[in-house]
């Protein structure tokens, strides 16, 4: 029974929803909500990146570039040019998707290290542009961003909102909005994976030769998933910009791209719950390691190495396989 529950297609979304909406009951500090909202936003970003890395087996070492592009497009359009935020998010996603297509189509013909290098370069170029176009972006000093607003209804972390008869402070409202966005991101990603498109993507990972033999236009599908994951990053970048109210080019930088990839690999490639867990762990770890400030990076690196050696499939799949084996043994069923 329990075993079947674990295997059912969308059950984990239900579990995720419960976790997302129960956690705030345990927190009372606005700082925790701020951190938790950031985790939700970044988790939705890596759910998109996972489509590219975990399922299609490609890599992008410049994905923060798309995140940063979305964030800056929204910031500039809404703050400098007074666009409505929702319009800015949609247009940003379309522009970033188009750029990802134009860039992705030629570079996704590359494989392995060459693809890594090319995507790395894409990220660098975007970060350099954001740094240097200081008239638009404010350069390395960053720029402030107006709060998110929908049809005149403004969502600010400092506001106070009444929902369902409760008075909800802005930081909790933001958390709930980000939580809903993550759930939507997960459901859409899972639907893509469970479709013929998802099958084609996974076949590229499993055997590109087999995929081509049965008629999968691998170049097309690689570009498609690259664009989809870039759009995920762009939308969440836009959301992040409105959430924090102040962005710097660091969010488009190389370090941040590596963090995104690490979340996917550490949490568990091709596992939505896994990559979300990866986002949670990687975002929380610095908080716990703050006491050992000078050794923080070293401890961090050590944990990464140990995980890759002992849990090459990532935290979540390793834990779930162990659980399945255990349940299988007790019920006498197949493991």
């Amino acid at each position: 029974m329990l075993q079947r529950f674990i295997d059912w297609r969308m059950n984990y979304v239900l579990v995720l929803a419960i976790i997302v909406f129960v956690v705030p009951l345990l927190m009372d500090n606005p700082f925790y909500f701020d951190l938790a909202t950031q985790i939700l936003i970044i988790a939705a970003t890596v759910v998109g990146l996972n489509l590219l890395v975990g399922y299609a087996g490609q890599i992008s070492l410049g994905h923060a570039g798309f995140y940063g592009m979305g964030a800056y497009f929204s910031a500039i359009a809404t703050t400098t040019y007074n666009w409505p935020p929702l319009l800015a998010i949609v247009v940003a996603a379309a522009v970033v998707g188009l750029i990802a297509y134009v860039v992705g189509r030629p570079i996704l013909r590359l494989k392995g290290h060459y693809l890594s290098m090319a995507t790395l370069a894409v990220g660098f170029i975007i970060a350099i542009i954001l740094n240097n176009e200081s008239e638009l972006t404010g350069g390395p000093d960053g720029m402030s961003v107006v709060p998110l607003s929908l049809f005149g209804w403004e969502l600010s972390t400092f506001g106070l909102y009444s929902m369902f008869g409760f008075e909800i402070p802005g930081h909790i409202a933001w958390y709930l909005v980000a939580g809903v966005l993550l759930l939507v991101a997960v459901v859409v990603a899972q639907n893509i994976i469970d479709s013929p498109i998802g099958r084609a993507l996974r076949s590229i990972h499993g055997s590109e030769i087999a995929a081509r033999t049965v008629g999968v236009d691998t170049t097309h599908y690689k570009s498609l998933v690259f664009v989809v994951s870039a759009i995920y990053a762009s939308v969440m970048g836009s959301v992040f910009a409105h959430f924090t109210g102040f962005i710097t080019p660091a969010i488009a930088g190389f370090d941040y791209s590596i963090v995104l990839i690490t979340m996917v690999v550490l949490g568990g490639m091709a596992s939505p719950m896994g990559v979300i867990l990866g986002a949670v762990v990687l975002k929380l770890m610095p908080q716990f390691l703050a006491g050992f400030q000078e050794y923080e990076t070293a401890i961090f690196g050590f944990i990464l190495m140990a995980t890759m050696i002992f849990m090459p499939k990532g935290f979540y799949p390793t834990a779930m396989n162990a659980l399945r084996r255990k349940l299988g043994r007790y019920s006498g069923g197949e493991a």
């Binding site: 859409v188 013929p196 099958r199 076949s203 499993g206 049965v214 008629g215 999968v216």
Partner: protein, 252 residues
């Protein structure tokens, strides 16, 4: 009889090595056409040329009257060509059934929008795809493995799974590269029966195979190549009595 595949003056050079030299032959629709020859004769190279994995140095390949030289494998699949591999190409990150369903890729009209929202049209197509794929798995004798992970299947079962995946694409011509390699006697007999059934359905089959008993039993015509050149071509009877073939290949 219409000509399914027509090959003229086919050459393939790797550096200075002539892997295929001046090869000419044609395969008629509905035939079982086998290519035999010693190791290194160029059989697999020939298959890779026909299926678009290699581009010929010279010469022409036509499929149903259309020149297909330099065409990508996925575009050849759209024209009804599918194949299996000597080095099996199975997606080990998927279940057996998903591998076969992948074979129906071109039969499904799915776009990103219907996929993202799981619209009814998509679900209908997926259901039909699943049913057809299950049918094909039973047809090739993999009925017991429907939900098995491909990585947990035996070698023999995987070989049949590859055939099921190729059949899922509704091919007009199916190329099998050493399907009997590594199979025991019983499995080979089952394979022979399977290929016969596939041919009866009107699918043209091209076969590279070392198992002489299998090849002689099911082929309508045979092509013998050695050092990339045609040594002989004809019915199994003609090949068996051809002095060149006996000298060069069957070892006298």
């Amino acid at each position: 009889m219409t000509v399914m595949i027509d090959i003229k003056g086919l050459d393939k050079e790797f550096g200075g090595v002539h892997a295929i030299e001046g090869l000419e032959f044609s395969v008629e629709q509905g035939q079982v056409y086998s290519v035999i020859g010693p190791n290194g004769a160029g059989k697999t190279t020939l298959f890779n040329l026909i299926t678009g994995f290699y581009i010929p140095t010279r010469g022409d390949i036509t499929l149903n009257g259309e020149s297909v030289v330099g065409m990508d494998p996925n575009r050849l699949a759209e024209r009804g060509m599918c194949r299996t591999f000597q080095q099996m190409q199975v997606c080990m990150n998927m279940t057996a059934l998903e591998n076969v369903m992948l074979g129906r890729h071109l039969q499904i009209r799915a776009n990103l929008l219907t996929s993202m929202f799981r619209l009814p049209s998509l679900l209908r197509e997926e259901k039909a795809c699943r049913e057809r794929s299950e049918e094909l798995m039973k047809f090739v004798g993999c009925g017991d493995y429907l939900d098995t992970e491909a990585s947990a299947m035996s070698y023999g079962a995987l070989k049949r799974l590859e055939i099921a995946r190729a059949l899922a694409a509704d091919p007009k011509i199916l190329l099998l590269d050493e399907p009997a390699a590594g199979l025991n006697g019983t499995e080979t007999a089952e394979l022979e029966e399977l290929i016969r059934k596939i041919a009866q359905q009107g699918v043209t089959v091209m076969l590279v195979e070392h198992d002489m008993k299998l090849v002689m039993g099911i082929s309508d015509r045979l092509l013998v190549i050695n050092y990339g050149r045609k040594l002989a071509e004809g019915t199994p009877e003609e090949i068996r009595n051809n002095p060149d073939v006996i000298a060069a290949y069957l070892g006298g």
